[in-house]
Amino acid sequence: MNNIDSDSGQALEPSPDNPSAVPPAIPAKPSVLRARLARILAASGVRTSEDDGAPSHFGFGVERIDAALRGNAKADGLPRAALHELHAENRDDRTSAAAMALLMAQRCRNLDQEARPVLWISESGEARRQGRLYPPGLAELGIDPDSILHVDAPDAIAALRAAADGVRSSAMAAVIIELAGKKPKGLDLTATRRLSLSAQKSGTLSLILRSGSDPDNPLPTAAFSRWSVAAAPSLALEANAPGHPAFDINLLRHRSGLYGLNARLEWNRDDQVFREQQGAPDTGAVPALAAVRTDHQGTRAA
């Protein structure tokens, strides 16, 4: 009792004759102390873990696209705390869409100070038929395979439930859920709305990856943005070898009404950044000039 009396009592009230008195001591509740500490830290410009200075938006690293995605938001790029949708333009583009989702998650993850894993959820049947994630290939893209927590869900409903749990907890840097087919079971406005709200609350990037969908006539979802991803011919390397991963991306829908943003991107693993593919898209049999390996240009075999 004594303690409480002396804390809330008048003895420590700043008196008029002592204007520089310390503020009244507050009963030592952790929440109150935290709030005070946060105020002091904010005043002194120290970054705390609660607001660890990680940007709220992430981009592709291509100025033209990031700036165009700004919309009426405060920062360039796409918001992290939101649900985004990636559609494989064609069933055969599933690998490109998966890579794009993983690379977006990776770019997002790089913004963090502490490393958090990425939750990858896929249906086991689809993975068996269409190929499963191959960790050495992840490493080749510059993604640490140890950072992936792989969930092999038995069906779409279980996958969505796992995604909901993953998005709700703030332990993950990003949650990627891969759903195949035109109309996956359980994927509707309610489910995506739930994911989207959880993402806003926890700040976890959530990506829905769709293959075999109809991008021109998609299911209505509550996603912030919707993209279509396709494989693009790469810029050939020396001796007409296939080059760096290239993607055609197309913005189908955006919360701020943006539409029709296209780009052909190339992933640069060493800098962990996308760049726009230089030179004309090359689909013919004649190899293009190697824009990537400049050191080989002189010696390149025709």
């Binding site: 703030s170 050939a236 070898a241």
Partner: protein
């Protein structure tokens, strides 16, 4: 003050336990005396007991000065019992301790023999003091002309019991090896088991779950005393008609967190194939911690911030409980150059610490695909020359024109795994891998299975993976 213990030198000078310190000082004026520290002695004895675990896991401390080793089934490791005991004596001797030992069929017989400096089989010669009753009993036994255990052994037990009590016959039987008593070994930390019995069976599932949560809270308290957290929890619900429902839970990290337990329990029950059916009711609910690990208390950060590592563990536990432990995976590299065998997908619940993956040479495009087919899928290939790169291939009834390629990257089979070892053409087929890109810009990982002409007349082609 009385001497509690004396060293060898003191004994040789005629001093011994029980002697008054003043008398001893009178005999040996420069005597060194130290305070008796029973706790330090007990500590030393338990350390010696730990050292004796080299012989058997069943080591019990018998205060004040004795250790009991149950060497049943452990003696052959040192040759025989005698040699084991001799080895123990040698080691203790080398460490500066004076040890006496005896072997016997029961713990009490061995203790009595060792205390009186006798060997196995000499139980009859032990004095009655070996019974370790009170001094009065010993005195009256001697007054009756019974000086040795052998004298007592011949007497009818009923008379002895009538005169000196059941305690004496019990101790006598134990020394004679007619009865054994269990010893209390040092490492007896078993599983934590908590249970509730109900006079009126619980017929409601919610009540049973609430009871499980209470039991876990109890178990968590005991885990806390040990500084541990639960990794594996097993629950049994005994129905009064004899049916037993078993539930198991596993967590990704040691935990004493009751809310987490409740969440996992709900997941576990939701994932059950056949629902819990209380039927006529549960009359016994038992929860045991089957596996536990060290869990030190952690300091929370004052400025707040979330405990993300804990969140991750909770998420992994939750997903593993719902979907099954094999469905939530972490990747680890495996030691094989065969592409599909170069990785392991281990349950994330007990994933090993991360191992570094192979580093990529900078400025190279990916040499391994993002998606892999296991098993590889057959493709029809047209090549300009039989051992050359593909020119066009047909996969899933679609024809793909190869615009760019790189290869071959030759990956030999693991001939050392074969019985015959390396023999040309017999050690499995070599694969020639090509990275190819078709006209649409999709990149494939194709391989020719077998060297043309050498290993196979008409090698097959497969697609093994897809690049981004």
């Amino acid at each position: 003050m009385v001497i509690m213990a004396a060293d060898r030198q003191a004994v040789s000078l005629g001093l011994g336990t029980g002697m008054k310190l003043a008398d001893a000082r009178a005999r040996v004026p420069d005597l060194l005396a130290f305070d008796h520290q029973p706790l330090a002695d007990a500590d030393l004895l338990s350390r010696l007991a730990e050292a004796c675990e080299r012989y058997t896991p069943m080591v019990a401390v018998e205060p004040p000065h004795a250790l009991i080793l149950d060497i049943t089934g452990a003696a052959h490791l040192h040759g025989d019992e005698e040699r084991l005991a001799q080895d123990a004596e040698d080691r203790l001797d080398a460490a500066g301790y004076n040890a006496r030992w005896a072997l016997a069929g029961t713990a009490d017989a061995a203790l009595a023999l060792a205390r009186h400096g006798l060997k196995e089989g000499a139980e009859a010669q032990l004095p009655v003091a070996a019974l370790a009753m009170d001094a009065k009993t010993h005195q009256s036994l001697e007054r009756a002309g019974l000086y040795r255990i052998g004298d007592l052994a011949e007497r009818p037990r009923a008379n002895l019991a009538a005169r000196f009590g059941m305690e004496l016959t019990l101790r006598l039987d134990r020394i004679l090896g007619l009865e054994d008593r269990p010893i209390d070994p040092l490492r007896r930390i078993g599983n934590i088991v908590t249970e509730r019995r109900f006079a009126e069976p619980l017929t409601h599932i919610d009540a049973a779950l609430a009871c499980l949560s209470e039991l876990f809270a109890e178990a968590a308290e005991r885990l806390n005393e040990r500084g541990q957290g639960a990794r594996m929890i097993r629950m049994m619900l005994f129905r009064c008609d004899g049916d037993v429902a078993r539930l198991g839970l596993e967590t990704g990290a040691p935990t004493r967190d009751a809310p987490l337990f409740q969440r996992l329990l709900r997941e576990r029950i939701a994932a059950l194939n056949d629902e819990l059916n209380p039927g006529f009711g549960y009359d016994l609910i038992r929860l045991s911690i089957v596996a536990s690990e060290v869990l030190a208390p952690q300091q929370l950060r004052l400025e707040g911030g979330e405990d993300r590592r804990g969140d991750e563990v909770a998420l992994v536990s939750q997903l593993s409980t719902r979907l099954g432990r094999d469905r939530v995976q972490k990747f680890a590299p495996a030691d094989s150059h065969i592409p599909e065998q170069g990785l392991l997908a281990l349950p994330a619940l007990n994933a090993p610490p991360p191992v570094p993956w192979k580093r990529q040479s900078p400025d190279n495009p990916p040499m391994r695909p993002l998606h892999m087919f296991d098993p590889p899928q057959r493709v029809q290939v047209i090549a300009e020359v039989p051992d050359g790169p593909p020119y066009r291939f047909t996969w899933r009834r679609k024809s793909h024109q190869v615009m760019r390629y790189e290869g071959p990257e030759r990956i030999a089979s693991e001939w050392w795994q074969r019985k015959d070892g390396q023999q040309p053409g017999k050690g499995g087929l070599t694969r020639d891998y090509y990275r190819v890109e078709d006209a649409r810009g999709r990149r494939y990982w194709l391989f020719r299975h077998g060297l043309y002409g050498e290993e196979k007349a008409n090698p097959d082609w497969y697609v093994h993976g897809l690049f981004a």
